[in-house]
């Protein structure tokens, strides 16, 4: 139950990471380099994601919303 006397948490920052393989669902506008930038902080690591998903990706430039990609630990 929120209350006007309760603090405002709208500015909260959060995140998560894992030593396991992470599963990421592609959304519209994504590219492997964008995902690599977001997940690893380095867009150049897109190839690492591509290589982990060659079972479902044939072309690194073609990913589609709804695809679930394995994101290996950095």
């Amino acid at each position: 139950m929120a209350d006007k006397d309760m603090p405002d948490f709208s500015g909260i920052k959060s995140g998560s990471s894992t030593t396991a393989t992470r599963i990421y669902e592609v959304v519209s506008g994504d590219s492997l380099s964008k995902i690599a930038k977001r997940e690893y902080g380095d867009a150049k690591l897109w190839k690492k994601i591509f290589e982990a998903n060659t079972d479902i990706l044939k072309d690194p430039n073609k990913i589609y919303p709804g695809q679930k990609l394995k994101i290996p630990p950095k």
Partner: protein, 153 residues
């Protein structure tokens, strides 16, 4: 006389036919009841430990476990899991004041583990976390796996 012979022949044939006909089948061997083996435990990911701290190492474990934080800290919840397979982990952060509870944040992470793993969730606030009592509840596949309480001073 011929009639008697014919009758006897018919009778004999019918006796033979009866004797050679349907043989009584032996009693069916008792079929052993199928042995019910306990189903193997489903492969899955379970949470084995939750610890809080204000810093984590490369292994995602907190450097020093604590339940007391300062407002400028990042609060890390390190969640150790065992088992393998896909799982959805969620950290539900809440703030508590008296009987009231305010949602702070929910983090969701889908993982594919192939053995023991360490996962971390964290929160911070650029303007400083409001002082008070908090808790983080960890869920694995929508089932609560544990609650850790902490304070921010």
């Amino acid at each position: 006389m011929k009639a008697i012979h014919a009758f006897s022949l018919v009778l004999l044939l019918s006796v033979i036919a009866t004797g050679c006909g349907k043989k009584e089948s032996p009693p069916a061997a008792a079929v052993p009841a199928p042995v019910t083996q306990p189903a193997p435990a489903p492969a899955g990911v379970t949470v084995s430990n939750i610890s809080l701290g204000n810093a984590i190492g490369a292994d995602k474990r907190v450097v020093a476990s604590t339940s007391s934080f300062s407002k400028n800290d990042t609060v890390y919840a390190s969640v150790e899991t065992t088992g393998s397979g896909k799982a959805t982990l969620m950290a539900k952060w809440t703030y508590h004041k008296g009987d009231m509870t305010a949602p702070v944040k929910e983090n969701v992470m889908d993982i594919a583990a192939d053995g023991p793993a360490v996962n971390e969730f964290h929160i911070s606030m650029p303007t400083g976390l409001p002082p008070g009592n908090y808790q983080v509840e960890i869920f694995a596949d929508n089932k609560s796996a544990g609650v850790s309480k902490f304070t921010v001073n």
